[in-house]
């Protein structure tokens, strides 16, 4: 098929998660349930959702970073340049990690080794993948430290992580991720632990590196502000599933389903008028060990109808914005008993009374 596939995502994407499942505890907890996600070469994709929605579990599955003793990755495929990473041996995966796909973690203090100089940590990945002379190795470390904006790299490369500030440590993490010139970077909540002014610096750095190095990125985040400024396309996850996907501009201009609306309403916006009360999403996400049988968002959804609890909706194109914009919501789908949210203005007050009534207990 050549017609479908998200707008700016090419026919043969760099990465394609094809119906990927990841489960823990002998399959008792399905953290990632059949997600389909594509990233084109050089493209920046956002994977957004709240704690426990499965966004980090999905990212870690790509690099096989979960504890294999209690994790099952599959069924599904992780196609990287057309090759299924799930078919690779552990040795084969080692050639992918760092060199083809690298990951930047949220907390640079726990991700860095406290008893190893940052120069050696930056070179660790190089040492694993390339044979460099001592001079070439040092030159590459200095080049990387300069690239990410660490002042006086020649002296700083001999320092340990605790001698750096939080922002500088995150720059070191980025230098490590870039060291083997990967094609794809998975950035997992990389600015969450940073102060806002440092967050702005780090995002600016990622933006410029991405452009100059033709990097593809997956920005994994709960922050819609970061998504708005950093991504071309976005996937919204809820309770292990992708519930909405669209080009970033389209998602913000015409969000299709109530969970995305809820996220947008509760995202802080300094330029919006002050309100006396914020609009939260009532209740809390379901347990992944025992998810609702219908729509997973139904117990919290103020727009729900009878069909929502009876059957689980598929992720289907949103009739308003075209095939590249899809939502997992009966309200947006032209089926019997569905379709009542097509073209609904999410900013309008909700006249619908929820069928399921109470949104459950407060979180």
């Amino acid at each position: 098929m050549t017609v479908s596939g998200p707008a700016r995502s090419p026919d043969r994407p760099l990465l394609h998660l094809d119906d990927l499942h990841t489960s823990f505890a002998q399959g008792a907890i399905v953290a990632v349930e059949g997600i389909d996600l594509r990233v084109g070469a050089g493209e920046s994709v956002g994977l957004v959702g709240e704690s426990g929605c499965g966004k980090s579990a999905a990212a870690k599955s790509i690099l096989r970073l979960h504890d294999p003793r209690n994790t099952r990755i599959g069924p599904g495929r992780i196609l990287f340049e057309g090759r299924d990473l799930l078919q690779l041996s552990d040795e084969g995966m080692r050639k992918i990690r760092g060199r083809e796909i690298a990951m930047i973690f949220q907390d640079p203090m726990t991700a860095l080794d406290p008893v190893m100089t940052v120069g050696d940590q930056i070179a660790e990945c190089l040492d694993a993948h390339e044979r460099l002379s001592a001079t070439a190795r040092k030159a590459r470390i200095l080049e990387l430290m300069k690239l990410v904006g660490i002042p006086s790299p020649a002296t700083r490369m001999r320092c340990y992580p605790h001698q750096f500030s939080g922002g500088m440590r995150q720059r070191i993490m980025i230098a490590i991720a870039l060291s083997c010139r990967p094609k794809l970077i998975l950035a997992d909540e990389i600015t969450t632990a940073l102060d806002v002014t440092l967050q702005a610096q780090v995002l600016e750095l990622i933006r410029s590196l991405r452009d100059s190095m033709q990097l593809a990125t997956i920005m994994i985040t709960h922050d819609l502000g970061v998504v708005a400024g950093m991504t071309d396309r976005v996937y919204v996850m809820y309770a292990g599933q992708i519930v909405e996907t669209a080009a970033t501009d389209d998602l913000f201009a015409r969000p299709a389903m109530p969970y995305t609306w809820g996220l947008l309403r509760s995202a802080p916006d300094l330029e919006a008028p002050v309100v006396e009360r914020m609009v939260p999403i009532e209740g809390m996400p379901p347990s992944l060990a025992d998810p609702p049988s219908g729509c997973r968002f139904a117990p919290r959804c103020p727009y729900g109808r009878e069909i929502c609890e009876r059957a689980a909706p598929p992720l289907a194109p949103n009739p308003v914005s075209g095939p590249e914009h899809a939502a997992r919501c009966w309200g947006t789908q032209q089926v019997k008993g569905g379709g009542w949210l097509i073209g609904h203005d999410w900013r309008a007050p909700n006249s619908d009374t929820p069928t399921s009534g109470k949104a459950g207990t407060n979180a």
């Binding site: 709240e50 704690s51 002042p151 500030s165 939080g166 922002g167 500088m168 102060d195 806002v196 002014t197 440092l198 967050q199 702005a200 610096q201 995002l203 600016e204 709960h222 922050d223 819609l224 502000g225 970061v226 998504v227 708005a228 400024g229 970033t248 501009d249 913000f252 809820g262 996220l263 947008l264 309403r265 509760s266 995202a267 802080p268 916006d269 300094l270 330029e271 002050v274 309100v275 006396e276 009360r277 914020m278 609009v279 939260p280 999403i281 009532e282 809390m284 207990t361 407060n362 979180a363």
Partner: protein, 328 residues
């Protein structure tokens, strides 16, 4: 009490912090901070890591010893009290911390956690205690069947509700809320912020709301103070500080918060602060921001900034700023 006297009392601030200083060895964590909080008022205290904002909160609560200045609650200088008299005053001010799980004893049931302050302050009657605990749970929106659970059996948002309930147990006049929603998901943050706003309105609470950015405190604060390197650099009524921020640091803080809208986000001009904040054990002479200040660079690096520390001065009604060059 005659009515005139009551009115006079109302005009008194509930909390008055004057020239507060806290030192940890050579580190001047808090360096000459002054502000007041009126009864029923919420002051947002904003600053990044290491700005001293949490230390201000702790010094008010007498959890760290100040090295200078005074903290007066209801006209009483807390620094002059100790033992039983300090304990009595402590009933009037309670704290909610950032990490709700870390601040709840994992081996105590929710009901016992809520009852603990009542026990410490002398409530003995079992029935009265059970009633009060149930009232507190309802007040913070917790279902009755949570009473017998342990902290690990409830969500982060629910744990923060427990911590808020515990803070309210003794009917305090002042709550120091130290980043109470920072560790929660955005949708849950809104729930807890609404709870705090409701409680403030229904109980007439005063609040010192400490946060690391200007987004969270916006909806709940009457006035906002911005701290940098142990000092307040700007203090103004809420609507003024967002509409007309004067201090270059406040401006960069505001511009750094991303907005959830791609078009506006692309069009936004960021004032990016260069480098890291200087270490508080070796602050720059003069203005604390001088080494990173965009306004100073724009003005061609005037020497004034490094020579003299700017005082917090009122530029318009209730709008205070500490900068030699900030103008409207």
């Amino acid at each position: 009490m005659p009515d005139t006297l009551k009115v006079q009392e109302k005009a008194q601030p509930l909390l008055k912090v004057t020239d507060l200083a806290v030192r940890f060895g050579e580190v001047r964590a808090v360096d000459g901070v002054s502000f007041t909080i009126a009864p029923g008022e919420t002051l947002g205290l904003v600053g990044e890591s290491g700005s001293g904002k949490s230390t201000v909160g702790r010094a008010i609560l007498q959890l760290v010893r100040s090295s200078g200045g005074t903290v007066e609650l209801d006209g009483t200088d807390l620094g002059a009290l100790n033992g039983e008299r300090l304990r009595t005053m402590r009933r009037k001010m309670q704290v909610v911390f950032q990490d709700p799980r870390g601040s709840l004893d994992p081996r105590m049931r929710i009901s016992a956690i809520l009852a603990e302050p009542l026990v410490i302050h002398g409530l003995r009657d079992k029935t009265a205690m059970a009633d009060r605990v149930r009232d507190l749970m309802r007040l913070v929106g917790l279902h009755d069947d949570m009473a017998d659970r342990f902290p690990h059996q409830i969500s982060g948002g629910q744990a923060q509700r427990v911590a808020i309930g515990r803070a309210l147990a003794l009917e305090p006049a002042l709550i120091v809320a130290d980043e109470p929603v920072s560790s929660l998901d955005v949708s849950i943050q809104a729930q807890v912020m609404n709870l705090l706003a409701d409680l403030r309105a229904s109980l007439g609470l005063s609040m010192l709301f400490i946060a690391h950015d200007l987004a969270v405190v916006r909806h709940i604060s009457d006035r906002i103070a911005v701290m940098y390197l142990g000092q307040i650099v700007e203090l103004a009524p809420r609507d003024r500080i967002y509409a007309k921020p004067l201090h270059p640091y406040t401006r960069s803080l505001l511009s750094a918060v991303p907005v959830p809208d791609p078009a506006r986000e692309r069009a936004r001009k960021r004032i990016i602060l260069e480098g890291d904040p200087p270490s508080p054990d070796n602050p720059p002479p003069g203005c604390p921001l001088s080494s990173r200040c965009a306004l100073r660079r724009e003005l061609g690096d005037p020497a004034e900034c490094e020579k003299r520390r700017p005082a917090l001065t009122e530029t318009a009604l209730g709008h205070h700023v500490a900068c030699h060059f900030a103008r409207e």
